[in-house]
Structure formats: structure tokens, C-alpha cells
């Protein structure tokens, strides 16, 4: 009976990785108080190497840096002769344009049909070069190369890893159609991993960025699957009686924590990514769900209503007693530990509003980061600087990104439909 029903019910299409034009657009709705003014001069010869939308490398780098909220890109007029990374820099002239930092570079075609991109970053105030890189690339790698340049600039000037080369996953609902999408962090290069007539929730990246675990209702109930980014094939991780949901990867990628109701109430279990070696972790009389590993793999944070209202607890991954983490308010859910392990983002109900809160674990200080009222599913950028979340604006599901200090805000929308369930992928190696 099962296979028959599955055949009838699942309106399921698996897509091979295929390029699509960007459908996720990003709007900056708040910026940092002090943004570094930077001049990204057009690279000499970059007109020969444009992306599909006609953008050159310097424009992509500038847009990346501006989107972070930490940089202000300066307009650079057409310069003759066009400076390159090999030119001697007229610091006084760039200072008069109010630039604190400067990127110069060049693009050259190679005999084998590929291109060589070189750039150098300068500190205009200190009148010194901060370094540079040369890349060999194909025409298809123009955006990826620009993101790597932006990552380099961001790290040199802020001291933190840039996340412009990372990817995000999210779910788009268009009418009764659900799409699990993977896109670059700037919303470009969107690719469908799964399209279904039934809901898809809770995508979670494997630590190596090669696989996604997620929950699909394609068989009329929540079942956990794992799917390779590059192979359009689902593998069932957990399909027990009742609900199977809330997958979270261990930092070494060898285990998944899940919520299962196979033994009654929702409880937390550990399982291998191929579905083997199922081990029950929590034993409470209430609801335990939404496990999330600490970056050192020692702890599992999770949501539980064992104390009468949903609150966040943690437990050693080897078992034992659970410790309660949140105490303020009657509804605290969806714990996500920051990549440095020092803070915890979660959803808190404040006077009827569901908002993203950030708890500093050492001091127990709590800061509410958003002013929206139906927030869900927070997800840290891998540098810990930004939290991506789902919310409702004007009746539509959108993603927003808020910096961990609450200052910088962005909104990510799709042209037609609701977007939700964001998950920020790991850093590129």
C-alpha cells in the first residue's frame, strides 16, 4: 500500500543542478554606524569578463562589501590611463576622493581561453599595500572569483572571515508548490534541490557543505532525508511511526540529531546520516525537539516544554541531566549556537511578538535583535557576524538578515511566493 500511495501522492521532482537566473533579491534596510569608505576601481580589461547579467568584477566586489553593511563603496570615475595592481598609487588623489581603502586590478585573457585576474588592496590612510592575489579562471567563474576577492578585502580590513563565497538554502512556497533552493549568499545562482506538492522544512547543511538534511512531507507526514548537493537523489534518514524531524549535523558530520515521536512524545535521538545506529538521547515526559550541536560537539541545545512552557535546555551529547538555559518569558524556542560557541540565537515571545534574541552564554545577557513579530528559524552566517531569519512582512514570507549587534539589516525576497526556512552554509575551503 505504501509504495502505491507514495506514487500517487508525491508530486515530486528532483532537479539536476542546473543554473537559473537569480530570483532572490536583497535590499539593505539598515547599515552600520561607521562604514569604511572603499574605492573599488574598475579592473583594467574587466569588460572582457562579465557575468550573465553584464556586471564586471569590480561591481560584484563593491556590491558584496556594501551588502555587509560595513563598507561604503565610492563612485570611481573613468580614469585614463586605467590603473592596475602594477601601477604606482597616487595616495593623495585617492585620499581626496575620501577613500580609506582602495582596490586596483586587471583582467587578462590567456592563450588557453581562460582568464587571469589580479588585484591589490591598499590602505590609503597608511599609504601601504595590504596584499593581493592572482586567480586563473574560466568565464563561468567570474562571480565566484569576485566573491573571493570580496572575502579577501573583508578579512584584511575587518579581521573576520568574509562569507561572500558561501551558499544559503531556503524554501520557497509558490501556491501549493514547495521548492528547496540553494543559492549563493548574494541570492544569485539559485538552484532547486527538490520541488514538491507538500511542505519542506528545516534544511541543515552538512559541515563540509556537500549535503543537506531536511524534512519533507511528500509522503503526507514528516520524514527526514539527506541529499547530496550535486546528486539529485534523496536518502531516507528517519521514517518511523509518527513524526520525524528537526535534523542537525554534528560538527564532524558523522551523526545527525533528530526529533522522533516513535516512542510517544517528541524526543531527541542521534542517528548516522545513512539512518543506521539510532540512539535515544532525551527521556522526558514532555516535548523535546530542535536539537543543535555546540561547535565543539560536546553539547546539544534543544527546546523542551518539560518545565511547563517551551524553553531552551542543553545536555551533554553523552547523555545525563539537562540544564535549563532560558528563564525569561514563557516561550523560547529554536536554539542556534554561534560558530564561536559564545552566544545563542533563538526565538523569544515578547508581548505577543516572536522575535530573534541573542543570549551571551557567559554573562546571560539577552538582547532582542529584531522588531518584527513573526520571526522563525534563525541561522548564523559561518563567521557569526549575521543571523539570517524568516519573518512575515506585509503578509508575505521574506528572509531578513540582522547583524549580531542588531544594526545592519537586509531583506531577501522572491518575486512571487513566500520564502522561509533559511540555512546558511559553511565557509568554503
Amino acid at each position: 500500500m505504501r509504495p502505491m500511495r507514495n506514487l500517487l501522492a508525491a508530486v515530486l521532482v528532483l532537479f539536476a543542478a542546473c543554473s537559473a537566473h537569480a530570483q532572490l533579491s536583497i535590499e539593505i534596510t539598515g547599515a552600520g554606524a561607521q562604514r569604511i569608505p572603499i574605492a573599488v576601481a574598475p579592473l583594467a580589461g574587466e569588460g572582457a569578463l562579465l557575468d550573465a547579467s553584464g556586471a564586471g568584477i569590480s561591481a560584484i566586489v563593491r556590491a558584496d562589501l556594501e551588502r555587509s553593511g560595513l563598507f561604503r563603496g565610492l563612485e570611481v570615475p573613468r580614469l585614463v590611463p586605467q590603473p592596475t595592481e602594477a601601477s604606482s598609487v597616487n595616495y593623495a588623489e585617492w585620499r581626496s576622493r575620501l577613500a580609506d581603502a582602495l582596490v586596483l586590478g586587471s583582467v587578462a585573457g590567456r592563450p588557453d581561453g581562460r582568464f587571469e585576474v589580479r588585484f591589490r588592496l591598499y590602505d590609503v590612510l597608511k599609504q601601504s599595500a595590504l596584499g593581493g592575489v592572482a586567480y586563473t579562471l574560466t568565464r563561468e567563474q567570474v562571480r565566484a572569483t569576485a566573491h573571493r576577492i570580496a572575502d579577501y578585502v573583508y578579512e584584511k580590513l575587518t579581521g573576520e572571515k568574509g562569507v561572500f563565497s558561501t551558499r544559503i538554502a531556503y524554501v520557497v512556497k509558490r501556491g501549493e508548490r514547495y521548492e528547496l533552493q540553494v543559492a549563493d549568499a548574494d541570492g544569485a545562482n539559485e538552484q532547486a534541490m527538490l520541488v514538491s506538492g507538500e511542505p519542506i522544512i528545516s534544511p541543515a547543511w552538512s559541515p563540509d557543505g556537500r549535503r543537506l538534511a531536511y524534512v519533507s512531507f511528500q509522503n503526507k507526514k514528516p520524514i527526514v532525508y539527506v541529499q547530496d548537493i550535486e546528486v539529485p537523489k534523496q536518502q531516507i534518514v528517519a521514517n518511523f511511526k509518527g513524526s520525524n524531524s528537526a535534523p542537525a549535523w554534528s560538527p564532524d558530520g558523522k551523526r545527525l540529531a533528530l526529533a522522533l515521536t516513535r516512542d510517544g512524545n517528541s524526543q531527541i535521538y542521534l542517528v548516522n546520516p545513512d539512518g543506521s545506529n539510532v540512539q535515544r538521547l532525551t527521556r522526558s515526559g514532555g516535548i523535546d525537539t530542535e536539537p543543535f550541536y555546540s561547535p565543539d560537539g560536546e553539547w546539544l541545545y534543544f527546546t523542551s516544554d518539560r518545565g511547563g512552557s517551551p524553553q531552551i535546555y542543553r545536555m551533554s551529547t553523552r547523555g545525563g541531566e539537562a540544564q535549563r538555559i532560558t528563564f525569561e518569558g514563557g516561550y523560547n524556542v529554536s536554539p542556534r549556537v554561534s560558530p564561536d560557541g559564545r552566544s545563542l540565537a533563538y526565538i523569544a515571545r515578547n508581548g505577543g511578538k516572536f522575535q530573534v534574541a541573542l543570549l551571551e552564554l557567559a554573562t546571560r545577557q539577552v538582547q532582542v535583535l529584531t522588531d518584527s513579530d513573526l520571526d522563525e528559524s534563525p541561522s548564523f552566517a559561518p563567521n557569526g557576524r549575521v543571523i539570517l531569519l524568516a519573518t512575515i512582512v506585509a503578509g508575505r514570507g521574506v528572509l531578513t538578515a540582522v547583524s549580531a549587534d542588531g544594526r545592519v539589516k537586509q531583506r531577501l525576497t522572491v518575486t512571487a511566493g513566500d520564502v522561509r526556512e533559511p540555512a546558511w552554509g559553511p565557509l568554503n575551503k
Binding site: 500500500m1 502505491m4 500511495r5 500517487l8 501522492a9 511542505p199 522544512i201 528545516s202 524534512v215 512531507f217 503526507k220 507526514k221 514528516p222 509518527g242 513524526s243 524531524s245 528537526a246 526529533a259 515521536t261 510517544g264 512524545n265 517528541s266 516535548i287 523535546d288 525537539t289 530542535e290 527546546t303 516544554d305 512552557s309 517551551p310 516561550y331 524556542v333 529554536s334 526565538i347 515571545r349 516572536f354 513573526l374 522563525e376 528559524s377 512575515i392 503578509g395 526556512e421
Partner: protein, 186 residues
Amino acid sequence: MRALWTILIASALAACATTQTPDTQPPAGVEDRAPGAARPGTQAVPAKPVTGVDLTGDKPAAAGVAPHRDPANVLSQRSVYYDFDKYDIKDEFKPVIEAHARYLRENASLKMLIQGNTDERGSREYNIALGQRRSEGVKRMLLLLGVREEQVEAVSLGEEKPKEAGHTEEAWTRNRRSDMLYTGEY
């Protein structure tokens, strides 16, 4: 397997129907049977084809309407409603569950799927667990009333299948519910 199952249900339904006054109405598919939704005098409109397609080619029960598909019958009430973040069954819904328990006991070949649902607020994953608690609560009451375990399955749809779209208190009230579905309706 599926075909056999469908035949069993069809004959079960036909058996039930013969105890009713013959009726020329066609059997309705899955419909919204929320309290207040089925108004007296309105005709039961056949819903769009149900996913559980009849593979035998036989239409079940042209003879009449099964009690659980008769809008006038208490068995047409299929939903239990809850307060925010609660899963206790309010007194007003107990007679409905008792009626379904009686019906399931009297029709041992019938099966029921209970789908627990929540409103959209809070966490999707917590809502899956909460919806499961709601559907398990209804299932437990049915079992206490003598229904056999293998007749009832409890699942959760969390906040994923709202009965009413919208972000208002009214929509949320209608979405916090357990729905009872008989075989052929899911």
C-alpha cells in the same frame, strides 16, 4: 494490497450505508467539517478528487451516504480546537470524539488518521511536536473508549497546513486543531 484495502473499505462503507435511509446524494470527498462550517440545508458538494484514488474502478457505495459523510450527522464534525500552545481536549469536543469512538468500534474495518495542527506562530519544529501531542491526545481518548490501536494513526502537520490563510487571531484560532479523517479521505 492497495486494491484489496480499497475493496474492504468500499464494502464497509456500503454496509454502513444500508442502515441509513437511502439517499441519492453522491458521497462527498474530503470537506471542511469544522463546527459551523456545515450549515443545515446546504448540499454536500463532492470535493475535488481525493488523493486516495479508487484503483479497483468500482465506485464505493452508490447506495447512499455513510454516516461519517452525512453533514447532518455528528460524525461530520471532524475537528478539535485548542488554545495557544495547549493540547488538552476541551469538554465541548468530547462528545464528538465519543461519537467517533462508537462509530469506529461498530465498524472495525474502518481506519482513522488524526492530523494535529498548530497556528503559524513560533517555531515550525516545535509546532510539529505540539501537533503530534494534539493528535496523540485524541488518539489516546479514542483508545480509552475502546477503539483498537491498529484502527487509529496519529500524525502531525505542525503549522504547515493551515485551514485558513492569514495572520490574524481568527485564522490562528481555526488553525489550532486536530482533524479526524477516515480512510479514503487522506
